[in-house]
Amino acid sequence: MSPQIPEAAELVIIGAGPAGMAAAIEARAAGTEVLLLDETSAAGGQIWRAVGTAPEARKTLLGKEYAAGAALVSEFAACGAQHVSGVSVWGVMPDENGRLRIGVRHNCAARLIEARAVILATGAQERPLPVPGWTLPGVMGAGAAQIALKSGGLLPEGRCVLAGVGPLLYLLADQFLRAGIIPAALVETPSPHRRTALTHLPGFLRAPTFRKGAGLMARVRRKVPVIAGAEALEVRGDSKAKALRYKRGGAWQEIEADLVLLHAGVVPSLHLSVAAGVPTRWNDVLRCFEPETDELGATAIAGLYIAGDGAGIGGAERALPSGRRAAQAALEHLGHNIDPARRDAARKDWHKADLGRAFIDRWFAPPPALLAPRGDTLACRCEEVTAGAIREAARLGAPGPNQLKTYLRCGMGPCQGRMCAASITEIMAEETGRTPAELGHLRFRTPVRPLSLGELAQLPAGENARRAVLGDAELPDTPLPLPPRAR
């Protein structure tokens, strides 16, 4: 891990999760120069967060699949890719010469890196679950609580309730149980696709996830009260969470809670790919937008590939072969010949890891009503725009999410729509009767991470930029000094 970032690399991979590491190893095996940039402090991604440094006892607690990540992390560390951690990537910009420029922030300065090929392996984000009270301290994503456990050994204190839908709720409950924490309840909201899920059951029965998943769910159900069929959720509290309320069979019930962990699956991180110009498509089962790629991960932009969950949710097992396939496509773009046997092996592994996915996607799909809040519930947490205001603007005729954004500022805060883009589309779809596919989503633009002007000013000024500011006046070659910080 070098603290220095080079100005150019043949292949740049963004994200050090399973897809990014697998892609780096594949590309290094072909002898290509690889630069891997990652936002966190160590390789592993969210799934294997801190696995390289976690004490043995914590790995045992988190389970075999977590511990297994350590092998890939060491293989990656030894593969010869240059890994720079703690880097925020704020844009991938194709230029006129068919090269890609990557905007990064490192040590509080903006930089540009040139690459001939880029693989986005930025994975997924937890789907926001905008229920009333979700902005209270004491409410967070179940995935967030799992990250706290992996990266810091943090466990819930007091009464903890898990709510929503997705395999992660069971996985996390099981990890808590191993650590001696018994969640007060697991409240499940029903998937609208359970019946069609059953037609995909044969594939799931053959998948390794089946036995693992069935055992896990049985263990959790023995110890944790599982409340199935909740139609609506709500968190109560003044300055922090006090209770989770759920509606079932038309009646509201309440469970006291100090920590409410919400979950409704994960969705692809879209900001970098969309801002680079990759079109998206709507996935009606997973209820999310996905970037348009071919089966290898190639996008409409020459030299730009997407691997892993960022290209469509498939989990860590599928992210590994997905990373290898994207690397092979990128290598081909760089002029390498790919051994057909290698290509075939990656394709087979991908399909093997995909077994059971069709069932899981449908069995744990989020109910649309839960994703389209109403009334005073904040849809946009940053700018504090209520769902009611969005509904009203939609009724008044806002033609799409981007116009609605200019009316209400939703999506214009620091998270840049990561927490509200999906709700805006869902709410507008409900109000207008148009489909999410027709409505589209907020347009995400470069820079996709907040950059201060001071950081931006560290960019080497190009000729055009100089002219724009100085006209024909002469400028010394050294960068302008930064003004002293306002106090």
Binding site: P128, G143, R487
Partner: protein, 102 residues
């Protein structure tokens, strides 16, 4: 809302939270250190002033914004603590005018 698991954590290091000494553990993210130390309010929201705390811990929600060593709006969940770090919790929207120093 959180406590540490019984597995021995990293070495204790001192940081400053709103000017007061606060113990973190080496290797912690700033967010983990604060959560483990019983902090439930990380900032007050910029519009209504409501209390907020981390929601995602993976860099997407920006609820964990704090001022670190004088630089405002750093994501506490992405920054690793260092001994002597000065963390300040933020309240409301920042003023455009330089703060007058009392």
């Amino acid at each position: 809302m959180f406590r540490r698991d019984p597995i021995p954590p990293g070495e204790a290091i001192e940081i400053l939270l709103d000017g007061a000494p606060f113990t973190a553990r080496r290797g912690d993210t700033v967010a983990n250190a604060l959560l483990a130390g019983g902090i439930t309010r990380f900032r007050d929201s910029v519009v209504s002033g409501a209390p907020r705390a981390p929601y995602c811990l993976m860099g997407t929600c920006f609820e964990c914004l704090v001022t670190i060593d004088g630089t405002p709006n750093r994501q506490a969940c992405l920054v690793t603590v260092e001994a002597g770090m000065r963390i300040e919790r933020q309240s409301g929207a920042p003023s455009m005018l330089p703060e007058s120093k009392a």
